[in-house]
């Protein structure tokens, strides 16, 4: 889209290519470098020995001269990291399954069992998404204590759906909308019950939506911080994000090596999971906003 449309052929093509490099590729490369650099820095710090980590005059900080697994050894065998990982996975999977089941039923009722006020119910569920956890954690903490769930991962599995259900329900309403009514009507004429229709027709057709909602819910639960910080006190039951911040920072001397190793190991599962389904994730992120 060059403005000098009537210029000479050779000159124009060279000119527009330099322009393209300068206005597209250079800024894009800078964006990618800046967005990814913290991960690079996290990864190389995790493999650096302590002597290199704080000595920039003898060693180039952008590279590792003698890589070591010492930080991972400390993390995996001298802290409760494997247990924190297990707790985080359990909480993420538990709350994801719970939210997906609730959301599928709610979205089906709102979109397909049309009833008076169904749009109001849908709006109310959407409004729930706008209530941030930071204004709920104090009263929720008192409730969790009363229910006897303090220090229990179950408290997280039960509270995470409050921000997962609104999102997943909206996503699934969109997917259910795209399934033709005729299919359901055929099944009704053939004598299928409503529940059979949901299980045998609607759900198989909504699989991409279920995957999107599932990944989104999983990454959000893995990411959650304030509830996990407020409801869990004992070292053994913490989730990875909370544990890395509260258990690995001890005293005044920060163990940057094991902190970075913890951050790396805590990020890798969710990044791997995301990379398998990146397209679904992008479509759910944009789909939900478009609705």
């Amino acid at each position: 889209m060059s403005d000098t449309a009537a210029g000479g052929g050779e000159l124009l093509s060279w000119d527009s290519r330099t322009r393209r490099v300068l206005t597209v590729y250079v800024p894009l490369a800078l964006f990618v470098i800046i967005l990814l650099f913290p991960f690079y820095w996290m990864a190389i710090t995790a493999f650096k020995p302590d002597s290199e980590m704080e000595d920039y005059t003898h060693f180039n900080p952008f590279w590792i001269h003698s890589p070591t697994l010492h930080n991972f050894d400390v993390l995996l065998f001298h802290t409760q990291f494997p247990r924190w990982m297990l707790i985080t996975v359990t909480v993420a999977i538990g709350s994801t399954i719970l939210s997906i089941v609730c959301s599928v039923l709610a979205a089906y009722a709102i979109e397909r069992l049309r009833f008076r006020g169904s749009t109001h119910v849908a709006l109310a569920i959407y409004l729930a998404y706008l209530v941030p956890p930071t204004i709920l954690f104090i009263p929720l903490a008192t409730m969790i204590v009363q229910f006897g769930l303090y220090n229990s991962p179950l408290s997280l599995i039960l509270t995470y759906p409050t921000f997962l259900i609104p999102f997943c329900t909206w996503l699934l309403i969109g997917y259910f909308k795209s399934i033709p009514y005729e299919l359901e009507e055929c099944a009704l004429i053939d004598g299928a019950s409503r529940m059979q229709i949901l299980r045998r027709i609607v759900l198989p057709l909504a699989v991409p939506g279920l995957i999107s909602a599932g990944i989104f819910a999983f990454t959000l639960s893995w990411n959650e911080f304030i509830y996990a910080l407020a409801f869990i006190q004992s070292t053994g039951n913490k989730t990875v994000p909370v544990a890395v911040l509260t258990e690995l920072v001890t005293g005044d001397v920060y163990q940057w090596g094991s902190l970075m190793a913890g951050a790396l190991l805590g990020s890798v599962p969710v990044a791997l999971f995301y990379s398998l389904f990146a397209e679904y994730y992008v479509s759910s992120l944009t789909g939900a906003v478009k609705e």
Partner: protein, 323 residues
Amino acid sequence: MDIAVEEVDAVAAWRAERRRESWLARLFNARPFLIVLCLAPAIGLLVVFLTYPLGLGFWLALTDSTIGQRGHFVGLANFVSIVSDPVFQLAVFNTIFYTAAATVGKFSLGLWLALLLNHHLPFKAFLRAIVLLPWIVPTVLSAIVWWWMYSPQFSIISYLLVNVLHLRSTYIDFLGAAWPARWSLVAANVWRGIPFVAVITLAGLQTISPSLYEAALLDGASSWQRFRFITVPMLMPILSVALTLSTLFTFSDFQLVYAITNGGPFNTTQIMATLAYQVAIPGSQLGQGAAIAISMIPFLIALTALNYFGLARRKWQQGPANE
């Protein structure tokens, strides 16, 4: 004869079975029952763990509850005391500054990144996927990396500026003073928010018909005019939703600030959420903490209304509903 009796029994049993089944089946096909059954789990969880605590939060804010002790009703005393508290006033200022600066930063840079990604590029899907990484990785874990990059002695950013680019002579004390610490937090938040804005905007850009640009080009519109009069209005509906969500979540942010500065130095980067946490949980003043958290609500409502009336309404003004 025996066979006949057996057959009769079997038929009776089958009928009873069928009647029972049809009773259950009828229940499961009755719409009111189904609607209640389907909505109950979602609505139940939301009412118990969202609506009720919201109400309880208002109640706690009116009491002098502490951890382990049910409080008494004290009216608006908590609100009166926090409003005159300089730390709270500073937190309100910091929250507004943090939200405003971070939103401007992530939307302008995110929009730019989306426009760059909208060109024909090799490995576009791959680029879009890796660019989203800062948004996927748990915030606290990336915040710890930023904390390490902001270290006063071993900051890689200072190293780059001082030893490689020779732009400065001394290392920057990122988190040691009020304003550098605030800008450092904004930078980390913008870094995390750019991908979200970029990917959503990119999806919006891809729905704009190229024929609009061709028509504008024929009419002699400059590239700025094409951006201003085609791209921006066509993106507005999707941008307004993204802006609403982004400002709400930035305003109520907790983890990034908690991980990098924890409100320090001397409460100069304390935002409302971190202050509420500090007062309520480590400080055990549940009532006062709840009052701080509740006082975020008017701001959140104002932000939503501002976005809604300022941006979303344009969609209706453009003419008959396109949704």
